[in-house]
């Protein structure tokens, strides 16, 4: 049996993104292409105007909700663990634990296996299937929180802080900045798990994806639009809004709001203060440093390609641990919308 081909000989970075040459397709292309495999619905991974798109049914539903017709002219759903061979490359989707429908793309070509993990996390998330490690020759990992200072507390602890603040300031509404896809629904699910059953108030931009999660079987409890609610009604309530709305005059309709934000960036005080946040909640949909380094050990790939964030530290770490590691020069993945 011939030796497996070197990974660089069949998968490489081109201006459109990560290109799998024998299959003629891209993973999470940053420019419109003929054939795309998409890991998940965040806008820096799932972009409009590709022709053929292969992704999980949930990711395709999210893309349709966001882009309508522009989601792609041929959308091909592919469930987890139902492999498909394209031009000699076997493609398999495996849960990534990042947001609803998020997948790692497992690629095998002539005995060589590359896992493009997309965005992922290892902590429990009631709104999506957990990450499954797959042993491989090359592990392509994100590094959004690729510094050893990013080590997150349990999300339940952070939700507890939100609820204590609500008890301490019962006349103020608590305005939590959340990204529309993933973080919003996870925060809602965590609140429900913590026993908070009161209605949650939503900025209009969050409604559609919450509805989509519900139709995909993720129960979120009573949700009400902020529009139309009086100031008095919003006192002592939790309001969810996209970070951009929290910062602008829209938030003035809230009675003396406690400005909160749920994000992995909240780990660093200076970042939180820059955003004018009074109650930073460290809730991340990305792997923290411990999860990144543990995952690299677990998949045990001799070669690590790092992208999407602070590559330098993770490359340094993997090298210290005896792995070949390099930063993948992919553009267009700064400051992920789902952080």
């Amino acid at each position: 049996m011939p030796a497996a081909p070197r990974p660089e000989s069949w998968i490489r970075v081109v201006p459109e993104g990560l290109y799998v040459a024998p299959g003629g397709f891209f993973v999470d292309p940053v420019r419109p292409v003929e054939r795309a495999v998409v890991t998940h619905g965040h806008a820096d991974h799932a972009r409009p105007d590709n022709r053929h798109v292969l992704a999980t049914p949930e990711t395709l539903a999210i893309m349709r909700a966001r882009y309508g017709e522009a989601a792609g002219s041929a959308l091909q759903p592919m469930s987890f663990d139902e492999p498909l061979t394209i031009g000699g490359v076997t493609v398999r989707l495996v849960p990534a634990g990042h947001v609803l429908g998020s997948a790692q793309v497992v690629l095998e070509y002539r005995g060589s296996r590359v896992v493009v993990s997309g965005d992922y996390k290892r902590g429990a998330d009631p709104t999506c299937r957990p990450f499954e490690p797959v042993a491989c020759d090359v592990f392509v990992t994100e590094a959004t929180f690729g510094l050893p200072v990013f080590r997150n507390p349990a999300p339940e602890h952070e939700i507890g802080r939100l609820l204590s603040s609500l008890a301490l300031f019962p006349e103020r509404s608590h305005l939590v900045g959340v990204y529309a896809l993933g973080k919003c629904q996870r925060v809602i699910a965590l609140l429900r798990q913590a026993g908070y059953a009161a209605p949650l108030y939503l900025h209009g931009a969050l409604q559609a994806l919450c509805d989509l999660y519900e139709t995909q079987g993720v129960a979120l409890g009573a949700l009400r639009p902020v529009a139309g609610a009086s100031k008095a009604e919003l006192a002592g309530k939790i309001v969810l809004a996209p970070p951009s709305a929290v910062a602008d005059r829209w938030s003035r309709r809230m009675p003396d709001p406690v400005i909160a934000a749920a994000s992995g960036w909240m780990r660093v005080r200076q970042r939180a203060r820059q955003r004018g946040v009074e109650l930073p909640l460290i809730i991340s949909d990305h792997a923290d440093w411990d999860e990144l380094t543990a995952t690299i050990e677990e998949v045990d790939a001799p070669e690590i390609w790092v992208t999407h964030g602070r590559e330098e530290a993770l490359v340094h770490h993997a090298t210290l641990r005896g792995r070949r590691a390099r930063a993948l020069a992919l553009v267009g993945f700064e400051e992920d919308e789902g952080a």
Binding site: L147, V268, H316
Partner: protein, 406 residues
């Protein structure tokens, strides 16, 4: 440590003064003794650990974390305490964390060489935000936007008492303030402080808005010069003698001549000056004395200090602060005539019948030692803080400036 860390964390991000007061009040109500008392001391600048240094912290981190990873992280975070607290290896929340008082007790009795070992042991048992609070606590960097006044306001709200009552007691109390908390929570009597030499909060004046002058009746007010020295409180009773600055700092060490002369029993309010042969020296001569920890005999001889007396707060054990200004002034003059204290003069009252007359006097006062005028209502009791209405300061030059502007 957990509650203290949560408090620090919330204070860091709380923008409003009222919010901070509520956070502090809630903390004081919930935290046990003596933890809350040590927290209070830390927040009001009354706690320092000279054996613990930031360099030791950096050294501990360097033993545990790869140098490159630490440098990249520090570069991103920008604060040493925060970087170390976040990067410290180990479980997020280990069992059996030390309490704030465990930490304080151990640090008070530890020698310099023992500190790093103690710190490493604690850091391993704390979660990240607790590590941050610990490092900030021991390196004295608790900048969370809480002034001593704000902390006292929270105490007042805890006990539902006036903040002036806290101020009154404050300088007679010691950390961890268990007696204070007991009293505030109705579980004990008002602390019986040894008040023979404590600082009593000063009464301060508001700047005069000259437009107000027409609404004020000259006969209600007394006028005196505002000398260009530093406002002090001289406390002497039962052999205890203290000289305090306006904010309650003990500055007696730099003025042994003043303390030596205070062989009486009284609490006096006045202006500290350097006076040579009856002439008030420029302010910087006083500053030269202020800046010394100890003073030489030559300094004492060349820059002799004196107090111009404005007011009397106590005569012996008798509290005169509730009396109107006019009665206190009479008591001050009477006391002064009987006592004839060295290194003190009465600051004279200025006769006037109309505001114009006073304005002219003020304009004519060219002596460099005069900063302006003080106006005090004859019926004003001596109140802590800066109440609106009874006292005004009318600084020299302000009127001229206004005239030019109009």
């Amino acid at each position: 440590m957990r509650r203290f860390a949560e408090l620090i964390e919330s204070l860091v991000f709380m923008p409003s003064r009222n919010g901070k007061i509520r956070l502090l009040t809630a903390y004081f109500a919930a935290a046990p003794d003596p933890d809350r008392g040590w927290a209070l001391a830390a927040l009001t600048g009354g706690l320092s650990f000279p054996t613990a240094k930031a360099g030791a912290i950096r050294g501990l981190a360097a033993e545990r974390v790869d140098e490159t990873l630490f440098a990249l992280s520090y570069d991103f975070v920008g604060d040493l305490a925060e970087t170390v607290s976040l990067i410290w290896p180990g479980a997020e929340a280990a069992a059996d964390p030390p309490s704030l008082s465990d930490v304080v007790d151990a640090l008070f009795s530890a020698g310099r060489s023992e500190v790093p070992g103690l710190l490493a042991g604690w850091l391993a048992r704390l979660a990240a935000s607790e590590r941050f609070a610990l490092i900030k606590l021991i390196t004295g960097g608790l900048r969370v936007g809480v002034s001593a006044r704000l902390a006292k306001t929270a105490l007042a709200s805890l006990g539902n008492v006036d903040v002036a009552e806290i101020e009154e007691l404050w300088h007679g109390l010691e950390p961890p303030y268990s007696d204070l908390f007991a009293w505030l929570e109705g579980a004990g009597d008002r602390p019986a402080i040894d008040d023979r030499a404590v600082f009593r909060p000063l009464m301060l004046a508001n700047p005069l808005d000259e437009a107000e002058l027409s609404g004020l009746e000259p006969a209600d007010f007394r006028a005196e010069w505002k000398w260009d020295g530093i406002r002090v409180q001289l406390v002497a009773r039962d052999g205890r003698r203290r000289l305090y600055s306006r904010t309650g700092d003990d500055i007696g060490g730099a003025f042994p001549d003043i303390l030596e002369a205070a062989d009486f029993g009284a609490v006096l309010d006045g202006e500290l000056l350097v006076v040579r042969d009856g002439e008030i020296a420029p302010f910087n001569h006083l500053q030269q004395r202020l800046n010394r920890k100890t003073v030489t005999a030559r300094m004492l001889a060349e820059h002799p200090a004196e107090i111009r007396l404005y007011d009397i707060l106590f005569e012996g054990a008798e509290d005169l602060r509730g009396l109107p200004f006019d009665q206190r002034r009479a008591r001050l003059e009477d006391w002064f005539a009987r006592t004839r204290p060295a290194r003190a003069e009465l600051s004279p009252l200025i006769d006037f019948a109309a505001w114009e007359e006073l304005a002219a006097l003020r304009e004519g006062a060219r002596a460099r030692a005069i900063e302006g005028l003080m106006l005090k209502r004859g019926d004003s009791p001596y109140l802590a803080g800066r109440p609106k209405g009874p006292w005004f300061k009318w600084k020299r030059g302000a009127l001229t400036l206004d005239t030019v502007l109009m």
